[in-house]
């Protein structure tokens, strides 16, 4: 019983991490007043580019007759996936901030584009690599669980806290840093002001467009990293067609549940990660597997409805979220 609970919790953290990364990226974006529904697309873009980045690095090093370094390969994947997500967000930002396109539509199109982007290049490079694209052992081991002497061997505690890959700790650190940024830093305060009331922020001398661009692009990059997690950890370094499917959208929902707060997002990501993997750990007699599969989605809808019923000022979306800001329209 204890073993199962611990195993479920560990799996929940592992499954929740990409959700957390996607949600963190989107929280940053929405705090600036941009509602970017392209999280799924940006995650796809980060997933495939991160994998390809590592793959090419390995090929180049092996081609030169050397052994690839796992740490370097992971770093390349991190950087490339960030850039890819940021690139997707830049398209979104250019269209909505500069060209004033509708945010909802632009985000949906970014999802369509990013999904196509991921699947296309996944298949394309897969065909070139002779069937499928996969990274070598060196990179895989860089994404394996860490092992801290003594700590990781502790019963229960070791498993629960010291048995994850580095990206889990990276995501947690990012959530804490982001919470500090929003609520304790000057720039974070400015950013929140832009999201709540861009006209007032503008009058106070804050460059609304610049804040929105930076928040959106960096947020998109974080989503891209979340996508990279999906294909490096969840599918163990192999490209699986449509591997992100649904996680990006769950991340968008998570932002609402977390009431735009990074630390709450952290807790909720573990809960939703748990819901995604629960059926593999706890069997409910008489419940067919496919009906069990619906659980996270049904709960998402229920929570969405409940949060919308219990709307309060404090927990509401940043007031200008979803609306473009035109100075001359005031």
């Amino acid at each position: 019983m204890l073993d199962t609970t611990v195993a479920l919790l560990v799996a929940a953290v592992l499954a929740g991490t990409p959700l957390l990364l996607g949600a963190l990226g989107e929280i940053l974006t929405e705090r600036s007043g941009n509602l970017n529904l392209g999280v799924e697309g940006m995650m796809f873009m980060g997933a495939i580019t991160g994998l390809i980045g590592s793959f090419f690095y390995e090929q180049a090093v092996i081609g030169a007759g050397l052994a690839p370094s796992g740490a370097l390969s992971a770093l390349i994947a991190l950087l490339v996936s960030f850039l890819a997500g940021a690139f997707g967000a830049l398209i979104y930002g250019f269209l909505t901030i500069t060209l004033r396109a509708n945010q909802n539509v632009t985000g949906l199109i970014l999802t369509i584009f990013g999904t196509g982007f991921g699947n296309f290049f996944g298949e394309y490079f897969g065909l070139k690599a002779g069937g499928y694209i996969a990274v070598s052992k060196a990179t895989k081991s860089a994404f394996a669980p860490i092992n801290i002497p003594y700590l990781s061997d502790l019963p229960v505690v070791g498993k629960l806290f010291f048995s994850y890959n580095w990206m889990v700790y990276f995501a947690i650190a990012l959530a804490i840093a982001m919470a500090w940024f929003f609520f304790k830093s000057r720039v974070g305060l400015n950013l929140r002001a832009v999201g709540e009331d861009p006209a007032a922020a503008d009058a106070a001398g804050i460059n609304v467009s610049r804040y929105r661009y930076f928040a959106t692009v960096i947020g998109g990059g974080i989503c891209g990293i979340g996508g990279m997690y999906m294909c490096m950890v969840t599918t163990s370094g192999v490209w699986v067609h449509g591997c992100v499917s649904g996680y990006g959208w769950l991340a968008v929902a998570l932002v609402i549940f977390a009431t735009w707060r990074p630390l709450r997002g952290m807790v909720l990501a573990v809960i939703f990660g748990g819901l995604m993997v629960m059926r593999m750990y706890i069997s409910i007699p008489g419940l067919p597997a496919q009906i069990y599969e619906m659980v996270p989605y049904v709960i998402t809808i229920l929570v969405l409805v409940i949060t919308s019923i219990r709307q309060s000022k404090e927990h509401a979306m940043p007031a200008s979220c979803g609306l473009n800001y035109f100075r001359e329209d005031r």
């Binding site: 004033r100 199109i109 584009f113 196509g116 496919q290």
Partner: protein
């Protein structure tokens, strides 16, 4: 429209709203954007080491080159077109129904119930009508779920419709594995619809294409010439205006979403009874998402959607051909669609605004 006097230099470019662009010029702009998108896609093909002109040509031939492939292309067009019209009804009132996939699947399942279990009882015309009604009712009711939440509590409909897609998909998988599993089959699949329950072919394609054309005309009339269509537009423009005008916003949302879902459900029925003759996880096959782009590119105009759906179906069909010839993955079509959409979206800015160079024109006060 004032630049801060003296504090900063006038920016190199500034934008001025235009109100004088003729529709012809506007469409010319969109045409240019479209060509630029194709050029952009062509560059990608070039980078992959192929001749873009040849690839594009083979895509067109792959979709329109022979009567066999034309039939296949039309078969792809029908679900896209009808779904797009259904989604457009919701989009016109700014209700982001991205649950087309789910509504198509439940429509197919409801039709499947009659098709798989009552085909021996009813003669074909009655069976077809039953399946259609069932599909539309199921799709419509499924569409009502997000509509009710939205109307009552303003629940985010984008996410609810999306989650309902995954739920419908899991339900279809459940039916395939359990209650509706084909007898004697070793892997999960549903039985085939008996030939007596299938939609008749007209010119080589099930008669759903005629129905789709009829729906185009009806939808145009409904959107533009009826009171209900007008109400949809008003709610889409501004809910407050609608309220002042005495329109019940809730009623419009609920009614329109039923129609939207019902059309998607009808697509599910046609995919089942006209195209696949069975139901799988792939019955909706991304149509619910691709149709969003069809509706958007056509600016919610049903006749425009007919043209765009034919074009997108051509890309879909043609991408299969280039996969065989050039080993370019078929996902290229969704990538290309994404690029085209980005360009069309950006182009709207230039339809609404024009750029003025520094010092060219004195800004009026």
């Amino acid at each position: 429209m004032s630049t801060k006097a003296g504090a900063k230099r006038e920016p190199l470019l500034r934008m001025v709203k235009r109100d004088d662009l003729s529709p012809l010029r506007a469409w010319a702009y969109r045409g240019i954007a479209f060509i630029l998108a194709l050029v952009c896609g062509g560059l990608l093909i070039l980078v992959l080491g192929h001749n873009p002109i040849l690839v594009y040509r083979d895509m067109v031939i792959g979709a329109w080159g022979s009567s066999t492939v034309i039939r296949e292309t039309i078969k792809l067009t029908v679900p896209l077109l009808v779904t797009a019209i259904g989604l457009a009804a919701a989009f016109k009132m700014k209700f982001w129904n991205i649950g087309g996939e789910g509504q198509i699947l439940v429509g197919a399942v409801a039709a499947g119930f009659f098709g798989l279990y009552t085909a021996q009882i009813f003669p074909r015309p009655i069976l077809i009508i039953l399946m259609m009604l069932a599909g539309m009712a199921a799709g419509g009711l499924y569409g009502l779920i997000p509509a009710l939440f939205k109307a009552k509590w303003r629940t985010n409909e984008t996410l609810v419709t999306l989650m309902l897609n995954y739920i419908a998909l899991a339900f279809v998988k459940y039916l395939m594995n359990g209650p509706w599993k084909a007898p004697g089959s070793t892997f999960p699949k549903m039985p085939m619809l008996v030939s007596g329950g299938r939609m008749t072919q007209v010119l080589g394609v099930h008669w759903g294409w005629i129905l789709a054309l009829v729906i185009v005309v009806i939808a145009w009339f409904y959107f533009n010439k009826t009171k209900q269509g007008y109400e949809i537009s008003v709610v889409g423009e501004s809910e407050n205006t609608a309220r002042y005008a005495g329109i019940s916003v809730k009623k419009v949302i609920i009614r329109t979403m039923f129609i939207s879902g019902a059309l998607c459900g009808l697509v599910g029925m046609m995919q089942f009874a006209g195209a696949d003759y069975t139901i799988t996880e792939g019955t909706a096959g991304g149509v619910g998402f691709t149709a969003i782009t069809v509706a958007w590119l056509a600016k919610m105009n049903p006749f425009g959607m007919l043209v765009v759906a034919l074009f997108i179906a051509m890309l879909g069909r043609g991408s299969n051909t280039i996969q065989t010839i050039y080993k370019i993955p078929a996902s290229a079509s969704s990538l290309l669609i994404g690029i085209i959409l980005f360009f069309m979206l950006g182009c709207e800015f230039f339809v609404r605004y024009r750029l003025v160079k520094r010092g060219k024109e004195v800004p009026d006060a």
